[in-house]
Symmetry: C2
Subunit: 206 residues, 2 copies
DNA sequence: ATTATATTTTAACGTTCATTACATATTAAC
DNA sequence: GTTAATATGTAATGAACGTTAAAATATAAT
């Protein structure tokens, strides 16, 4: 018997909202208010949906948040991809930090970084969300650690360089920039800080 | 008529708790959970008091929080005082960042910085608290701006140095360290980042 | 002892939270 | 046209939030 391609039977009343657009709107709300701060009331208002529609389409609030994080990652991934593909560690670092500043100050979006700001502090009941975001940051850090290990192999970093320390340094600046952006500092301000932070990279030749 | 010193008539049932100890305990709770995350339930549990006792002694939650911030400032002020009294800008910066790491990783206290972590994101109703903490950070920044202006006058920074940029840089690292500490990074890790961040200070002689 | 004042305790207040029951509406398949 | 399946809108759920009313309790002054 030839296995037929199973057509997913499309029945029932059709959605009257654009899923991607709703995710984009909710992402901004989470970005602006954080996970806990973005109440269902705010999400309903931001998306134009009613609560049951959100639950029907995205599960519960936590799952909705994670869906929004994925959407955010799709925005930020290319920047980190580009950074990691730079030919040497200095350009990697420069490209990374200038990239995150770009995102943190991009027109039409809230200031700062959704992942960094989303889970700083929270009530005990949203521990899982904080851990989820913490893992995101750990993953990002690890990618830069590996990139700098490659730099050592390729010789653009000395053998005694500390990839982990370099990556931690980068993420520390990243996180600091996110808070500065949230506090209202402008893009030129942040870029000035970035250039200072990188002026002695990779801290080896002194 | 000789004005008598007015004795405040001490009447009524006496408090059965130590005010300073309660503030200390509540401060830790705010430090750990943030302003919104530290619910009255948590504060009650942390202090051993009942809610009406807290309200009677400290006003509402916001006022209680501000009292705790004052107590925190009393802890951190000496570190910044010492930093600002250093003889040159490099030592100021070094002393500042090493001081904040000391506080952020001090035994018996939560990781990170109460002021920085306390108000990253929050619901609209606690805007005033966020602004309060934002002002605290602005005040701190300004003190370092003025210190670096003095450095220019005294000649330990070149005349074309940018005190504001230097202070912003310092605060950015400070904020980044707070998030790193909160994320579980150890004191040696943070100090490594500090030493990297300062290796080219004051970014003038290249 | 009585009075005045302040603190503690218990229990509630109204509001907001995330979540869902339920009835109605809208489509595709039969 | 009937049926099955899904989405929507309204309104409700129980829990947690910050806050307070009210009664009981403990001290100092009279």
């Amino acid at each position: 018997m030839i296995p037929q391609t199973i057509k997913p039977r499309k029945v029932g009343r059709p959605r009257k909202f654009d899923r991607d657009k709703v995710i984009e709107q909710a992402m901004k709300a989470f970005w602006l208010h954080g996970y806990e701060g973005a109440s269902m009331r705010i999400l309903v208002s931001a998306t134009g949906l009613e609560a049951p529609s959100i639950y029907g389409a995205f599960g519960n609030k936590k799952q909705f948040f994670e869906t929004c994080i994925e959407s955010y990652a799709k925005k930020s991934r290319p920047f980190h991809e580009k950074a990691i593909n730079q030919p040497d560690s200095r350009l990697v670092a420069k490209c990374c930090l200038e990239g995150v500043v770009e995102i943190m100050t991009s027109e039409g979006y809230p200031e700062g970084c959704l992942v960094i700001l989303g889970a700083v502090v929270s009530s005990p009941q949203s521990d899982s969300v904080r851990h989820y975001l913490s893992d995101q940051m750990s993953g990002l850090t690890l990618r830069y650690v590996k990139r700098f290990e490659r730099s050592i192999e390729e010789g653009d970093l000395p053998k005694n360089a500390d990839p982990s320390a370099l990556a931690n340094y980068l993420i520390t600046i990243d996180r600091g920039l996110a808070l500065q952006a949230k506090a209202g500092h402008t893009k030129p301000d942040l870029l000035k800080t970035v250039s200072m932070a990188l002026s002695d990279w990779p801290f080896c030749d002194r």
